[in-house]
């Protein structure tokens, strides 16, 4: 991974990146990837930013993605702000944020209004029940895919933390804040100690 480059500097490494996008281009690009992104936008974001527009190299994208993944909140929303502000400061962040969220928000609000009116219709209820069954399956598969690296590495500590959080939130239904305020410091402390022990 390349070390930190100043935000405005254009990437020098392995692959030439194109001219930095303007505010309107940022808005349009994020609106496009957002509207293409059924069931998660991140794949489309990578395709647009790295492959199509070449605004970032794959390494830069991975680094930004990692940052946005460990920060709380919707990952791709974080990515839009970090990416946009890299080129144009706060206005750039806002342009990308607005492009990502504005158009789908309009669509989903319309769907919400339709649901409020027609949600009781029997056929629609059955269809939605079927879709939600499949959607839960998709979510579970995403979770399993994320879990595989931990299992392969035999990361016992990680798996114990994972199961602990699952029990606290999923089975005991404890409030999220309470659980995380205990689990986050604990997990960081354990990880820190383990790393010091393994790599001096």
């Amino acid at each position: 991974m390349p070390p930190d480059s100043p935000p405005a500097a254009r990437a020098a490494p392995d692959f030439p990146t194109s001219i930095p996008p303007g505010l309107i281009a940022l808005f349009v690009a994020f609106a496009q990837m957002s509207l293409a992104g059924f069931g998660g936008v991140m794949v489309f974001a990578r395709r647009a930013i790295v492959d199509r527009h070449r605004w970032m190299t794959a390494d830069e994208f991975n680094e930004t993605y990692a940052l946005c993944h460990f920060l709380p909140g919707p990952n791709v929303v974080n990515l839009s702000v970090v990416f946009g502000s890299r080129f144009h400061g706060i206005p750039g962040g806002i342009a990308a944020f607005a492009g990502l969220l504005g158009p789908p928000m309009v669509i989903v609000t319309i769907l919400a209004a339709l649901y409020a009116h027609f949600g009781e219709i029997d056929a629609l209820r059955r269809i939605l029940a079927g879709v939600s069954c499949a959607a839960v399956g998709l979510l579970i598969s995403t979770m399993l895919r994320m879990m595989m690296p931990l299992i392969k590495r035999r990361d016992v500590v990680g798996l114990v933390v994972l199961v602990g959080v699952f029990i606290a939130i999923g089975l005991l239904r404890l409030p999220l804040q309470t659980v995380l305020l205990m689990a986050i410091p604990l997990s960081i402390a354990i990880t820190f100690v383990m790393r010091r022990r393994t790599s001096p």
């Binding site: 460990f70 909140g73 969220l101 789908p104 979510l139 999923g170």
Partner: protein, 177 residues
């Protein structure tokens, strides 16, 4: 609930706070959304919550759009806007400052440690989301079978998820579930 505050301000602080605790993304916060929307505030039924998850997954845009649907149910268009922005803005501001800080400071190993520490947490949260959603939407053994099949296919193949959602919808319409 006899809270005197307006529904919009309830949405703002509920989701504003949740935003900062959604480790791993919007899907990690689903158990908390369900706890608040169904159990604590009684904004909706189990079935409505499951429907909203389904609509959000079928719609274009990030997964966080389920929040827009919840907001709309509570307080119409203003609620949809308030809930979505409250869920997205605090963490976006945080991301902005953290990325600036990291690009200035010398390369440290803290991001790697934080990431290693938080990834198991976020997977545990997603597992809890899966469990809670399965309990709300799978109320027959056929429904459970559809969920398990979708999970298996999505895990083992590179099939476009949209096909699985579509297949689920068709099975639902046919009355199988």
């Amino acid at each position: 609930m006899n809270s005197p505050e307006s529904p919009v301000s309830t949405l703002v602080w509920t989701f504003g706070l949740m935003s900062l605790f959604a480790v791993g993304g919007a899907n990690s916060a689903i158990p908390e959304m369900h706890r608040i929307a169904v159990d604590v505030r009684h904004w909706m039924t189990d079935k409505q919550f499951a429907d909203m998850f389904a609509i959000a997954q079928m719609s274009p845009g990030p997964n966080v759009m389920i929040v827009t649907l919840i907001g709309y149910t509570v307080a119409g268009v203003a609620g949809a806007l308030a809930a979505t922005l409250s869920m997205c803005v605090p963490t976006a501001v945080l991301a902005y400052y953290v990325s600036r800080f990291l690009s200035r400071s010398s390369h440290s190993r803290w991001p790697a440690i934080l990431q290693a520490a938080l990834v198991p947490l976020s997977i545990g949260l997603m597992g809890a989301s899966g469990l809670i959603l399965a309990l709300t939407s799978d109320r027959s053994w056929t429904a459970g079978l559809v969920t398990a099949t979708a999970a298996g296919l999505a895990f083992a193949t590179r099939l476009n998820p949209l096909w699985l959602l579509l297949a689920g919808g068709c099975l639902g319409f046919a009355g199988v579930i």
